[in-house]
Symmetry: C2
Subunit: 279 residues, 2 copies
């Protein structure tokens, strides 16, 4: 679709990444002059892949030892390179923040057509780390030093508040906003403002994170044939700093941490105004 | 013990890493002059830790967020740094090859006192990658560029033939030697000479590796309560290049690879002269 019009149906998926890239480059070039004069732009480029069904263009198909999934990732890597090169060519690199991230972990039941969560447990559809913890790369030459790693807690929801702050706009005050601005984290100026993550599956609270601690009230393991949440009572407690793979339940040793997290949940839910599902 | 004499019993384990380090530094300083005049030395420093029971010296205890295991690793890291600094101080860095490696993967049943195999499957006592694949760092300033990664197949057995070649000695010809020299791999001069790894549990052949392919004839999962080898018939086949976690058995799709590996096993065992167990 372009805006509200269907321009191709069914879509030729092999060329989607290529065509998205061309559109993104055109958008950058069209807005570069205004941007250099202080009118910044916002570009959101949600690649269709590596979601299944996977497709790569002719230039990338059959090239990766990792098979089609690898081909798709290599094409996305090429695409990102084109975008960074365009920003450099337009002398916008030092005034542009580029974020590269993902909405969730690998869809493990798709086997070689899914990704890998590395040492993290489980994958997409679960609230184990393999389902919810994703890479995020932030590129901003002159402001973010290459190779610096941030250890702060952050969620995708935080990019809204972050983008508004960077653009000099105000976060709306007429509704509750779940995100917080990550500007201090990006600038390396101090600890981030986020202290908790609450992990939901639809409207069910599954787990909570605070600092290194993660408490699971319910778990689901879609890649291991356990497709409905089961209640964990007593709950499971992991220290993600020392045990990122969530292998060592240490709930017995830290009753005080669990008590604190239970209080945090009560406080969180007291302030929560559930939204209407959009799907 | 020093040579054949017991000098302390029971050993004060807290200071073992510290004392090994001092001994190693003394050995380097004692042999440095001769080494600079063309009489190289061989130093083998097998740290007691991170094998359990874990002990760290006072300077490191309680310092790591990873607990005692992390303290132990930090102390070993300090120790290695002392050794590299001594070699630099003696102007021996460019004529010394330093290897840092491990005999096996983590002992998972020891939980937080064991290590982590990251994305590799299972651990010590198994012939899954988590049990047998280990890191190996080779340091040789001026010969090995920093940050270069070798993708060749290699085993600990190969360091014997490698050390002999580097020292200008000959591999004994009066007995079969299982190792091959990794000098070409270290120098980045071409592919290594090793094409197979045969994985044994005592005298039982469990698996074979050739290039990216690994075929499991038997498996054992000591960290998952399966403590005796079970026969896999049909065998399991994994492509470690695309699936390092050994999640995707693709035996059905590659009968030709399995046939070749079975022939390799017959050839290997025809030439094998079993040694007498030393334990």
């Amino acid at each position: 679709m372009r805006d509200e019009s269907i321009i191709e149906q069914p879509a030729v998926q092999e060329t989607l990444t290529l065509r998205y890239t061309r559109e993104a480059l055109r958008f950058i070039h069209d807005h570069a002059g205004a941007a250099r004069q202080g009118h910044p732009f916002f570009l959101y480029l949600p690649y269709t892949f590596p979601h299944v069904p996977l497709h790569a263009s002719k230039a990338f198909r059959g090239k990766s030892p990792r098979g089609l999934y690898g081909d798709v990732v290599e094409e996305i890597d090429w695409s990102v390179g084109q975008i960074l090169a365009a920003l450099r060519g337009e002398r916008l690199a030092e005034s542009t923040l580029v974020l590269f991230t993902s909405d969730n972990g690998p869809w493990l039941i798709k086997q070689s057509q899914g990704g890998s969560a590395g040492l993290l447990r489980e994958g997409k559809g679960s609230t184990w780390e393999g389902g919810v913890r994703v890479p995020c790369l932030a590129w901003w030459p002159g402001t973010i030093a290459p190779g610096r790693a941030a250890q702060d807690l952050a969620t995708e929801m935080d990019w809204f508040a972050t983008a508004l702050e960077l653009a000099g706009a105000k976060v709306p005050s007429d509704r509750p906003i779940d995100g917080v601005s990550l500007v201090p984290v990006l600038r390396g100026a101090g600890p981030g403002p986020r202290h908790h993550v609450y992990y939901y599956l639809d409207t069910e609270l599954m787990a909570v994170r605070r600092g290194p601690w993660k408490l699971h009230l319910k778990t689901i393991d879609p890649a291991h044939d356990q497709r409905k949440p089961i209640t964990r009572d007593p709950p499971l407690l992991f220290n993600l700093s020392s045990d990122p793979s969530e292998h060592l339940n240490i709930a017995d040793q830290h009753p005080g941490v669990i008590e604190q997290l239970r209080k945090d949940i009560v406080e969180h839910q007291r302030n929560l105004k559930p939204g209407k599902p959009q799907l």
